[in-house]
């Protein structure tokens, strides 16, 4: 009982129990797609038939642009890699980038938002102007500039992942900053912050014990939506040739780029699988984010319709009021 109550308080699990109807369908579909994505990413070495940079096996070279066959279910690319393997390994790269990008931007964004929103004054004004300035850049341009500055455009797995993640982070920090700052400004005016001040609590204590946790309600939604955007930005960077070398890791955007000429030649199997992989990964994460968003808002949340009039519903739902009123019934 205690275990299941604890489980029920976890984000996502709690919402899954709460959801009904279409909202539940969206959430379940999103969770399923994302689950597949996570399984592919973590178990890539087991699931993929070949390595991401493997060009040959015992029976010799794979050959370039081979049509789907028993050996290569989705054929091979112009560079002679197995398409299916690259799609599966690509999930791993995407997941790494999401984790690094989201972690970096969440920490930096929350800290800046908290300081800016709570302290106010010139710190706040400067940070808001900087955030606005970053908003003014097209996100992809910013990511390209960051990618070039960090890695010169080309690199191996980890440096490539970090280059992509940091370029995405630069774009995302203002979003977290804005959201957390707005919440902090709201929470700052609440009576319990005043009561902490009256008690004599120090400013850092008020910020971290009372304000911080009350200001992060909307973050799970933004994290999921940003995770989806991170996948897209990574693919766009790869597509523009600023991604990761094929010998360092598999990357969907890079594969799409290399398959451009194939499309005109009627070779579909090099372009479609990474494209679908991007779409499904983004769709899955976005569905989770959107349904979390709907469920978080009591005005948007659908509920089970009441059936009949069970008399004990009142007793279950309002024990406190009864206690207050004593024995009179």
């Amino acid at each position: 009982m205690a275990g299941s109550r604890l489980l029920g308080r976890l984000p996502v699990v709690h919402q899954l129990r709460q959801a009904v109807g279409l909202q539940r369908g969206m959430l379940v579909a999103g969770l399923a797609l994302t689950g597949v994505f996570l399984v592919l990413a973590t178990l890539a070495p087991v699931l993929a038939p070949y390595g991401y940079s493997q060009l040959s096996d015992e029976s010799g070279n794979f050959g370039a642009q081979q049509a789907p066959s028993a050996e290569h279910w989705l054929g091979t690319t112009v560079g002679g890699y197995d398409v299916l393997s690259r799609v599966i390994w690509g999930a791993r790269t995407a997941l790494l980038v999401i984790i690094v990008a989201v972690l970096l931007s969440v920490f930096v964004g929350i800290l800046l938002g908290l300081v800016s929103g709570y302290l106010g004054g010139w710190v706040d004004r400067v940070l808001v102007v900087v955030a606005d300035a970053i908003y003014a850049f097209p996100t992809l341009l910013l990511a390209i500039v960051a990618a070039i500055a960090i890695s010169g455009g080309q690199s191996g797995l980890w440096s490539g992942v970090f280059a992509a993640a940091i370029s995405i982070t630069v774009v995302f920090i203002p979003q977290y900053f804005r959201v957390v700052r707005a919440e902090v400004v709201r929470v700052k005016a609440e009576a319990f912050i005043e009561s902490a001040k009256v008690i004599g609590a120090s400013t850092p204590r008020i910020m971290f014990r009372h304000v911080l946790r009350n200001s992060t309600r909307t973050l799970p939604v933004i994290v999921t939506l940003n995770a989806a955007e991170a996948v897209l930005t990574l693919a766009a960077l790869g597509f523009l040739g600023l991604g990761i070398e094929p010998t360092s890791a598999a990357e969907w955007g890079f594969d799409l780029n290399k398959s451009i000429s194939d499309v005109a030649a009627g070779i579909w199997w090099t372009a479609v699988p990474p494209g679908i992989a991007i779409v499904l990964a983004v769709l899955g994460i976005t569905l989770i984010g959107e349904s979390l968003n709907d469920l978080a808002d009591p005005r948007l949340r659908a509920r089970r319709r009441g059936k009949g009039t069970p008399a004990d519903a009142v007793a279950q739902s309002e024990p406190v009021a009864r206690e207050e009123l004593g024995e009179v019934q």
Binding site: V198, G200, N214, P310, A313, S317, E324, L325
Partner: protein
Amino acid sequence: MAGESTNAVEIRDLNVTFATDGGDVHAVRGVSLDVRPGEVLAIVGESGSGKTVTARTILGLLGPTAVTDGAVVVSGTDVVELDASGLRRLRGEKAAMIFQEPSMALNPVFSVGWQLAEGLRAHGRISKAEAKAKAVAMLRRVGIPEPERRVNDYPHQFSGGQKQRIVIAMALAMQPAVIIADEPTTALDVTVQAEILALLRQLRDEEGTAIVLITHNMGVVADLADRVAVMLHGEVVETAPVADIFAAPQHEYTRRLLDAVPRLEAADRPPLPEDTPAPLVVAKDLIIEYPGRFGRRSTFRAVHEVSFSIAPGEVLGLVGESGSGKSTIGRAIAGLTPVAGGSLQVLGTEMLGVKEREFRLKRRDIGFVFQDPATSFNPLLTIADNVAEPLIVHGQAKRPGDARGKVDELLEAVQLPAAFGDRYPHELSGGQRQRASLARALALDPKLLIADEPTSALDVSVQARVLELFIELQERFGFATLFISHDLAVVDMLADRIGVLHRGRLVEEGTGAEVLGAPKDPYTQRLLASLPVPDPVEQARRREEWAALSG
């Protein structure tokens, strides 16, 4: 159908269930009520008793999560059976509503004339000029001065009482058979409340409109109602004419509700010994200002040269209407609002130009109880952690766990079971939360307690228990108190001395007997006269007095 019925509203066996996250809530259970034309039926009960839900079914205003069964017949039409377009015709023409918060019921971006015309044009073809002429007539009807000019004004240009008059005009526009007034005066000051009640009574007498009055204020009931229905947990426990309810309540709950209503007695308390030590708080010509947006020019002066003092162990009550500066004074003493001029000494520290760092050490001797117990606790900490917070901040405990013994003691002192410490604030009722709030304020055994409207968010019976507890704790711990309230009767129960504030000035100060028994200042006299007392006979007599005083 009950088409031949002569009642304005007939409710038969009404049941309303809400689907919520926590399962179904059965908010109204088998309620039957009648309202006759030209009658004021008051529905009283505590929050959560189903009184608002019952009244809202008359207009079909419940949300999509509500399931309604039974019959609600408004002049021949069963509302429960109506579809959306039928409901739209019903609203305005047969039944209308007056809301609690007039500033929220009016759209701020349209002129009031436009909003009045909107209602008229929604129910039939009428030209713009006609609608405007009618809007002017309606404003005159509800006592707005210079209606021809003011019809083009926007809601923010009217005072709270005038806004409520406009809302009433809107409700009256189509001459409905019944008006639902949901706490129509709760958001208003007591002197304005008296005017609005007089207007409602006059309209009922002249138009013959039935009024369903929802309120928790027994004084308002005594003033306006003809019949009273008492609700408890979704059921009507007693219905009787207003005189009978007050003179001979039948149901146990009605009796308890009436007993809990604080009454103005203007009793004299034994004066404190003369040779009292140095006062804890001394204000001399205290001035508090809120800076305007553009430099010093638009500075708003909330408190004008107020002088008072609070001796150790003394309870000073500050009363006044909203905007009188009473809360501002309390916040200045707690160091939440800076002092602009004069002098304010708190526990020996001069607050004019004080630095937070210097004052922080004094804070252990000051407890503060906030108005709304729902927001004054960090919702993510348990009650025990919240109550332990002052102990940790002032170094009496390292972690919340270490303070638990002391916290349990405090909870016991405010009559909460120690087990409540493990609950979260939202799992407690309003009264329980306010008691926990008292426990937190007393955690460091303060010399001074500032209570800013501590009971105004509570139901009347809960309020009575919190006040009793407060008196008991004050006697036991002997702390001095600044008790801020808009309710004269509440202050009368507690305070050794009472100060009356009006527009930032202290107009009268003295013992309870002096200020409430024999008020000298005209404002205090008006304040006392407009306070409705929970006794219909007595209230009728006072009403005349009030009319003489204000007329």
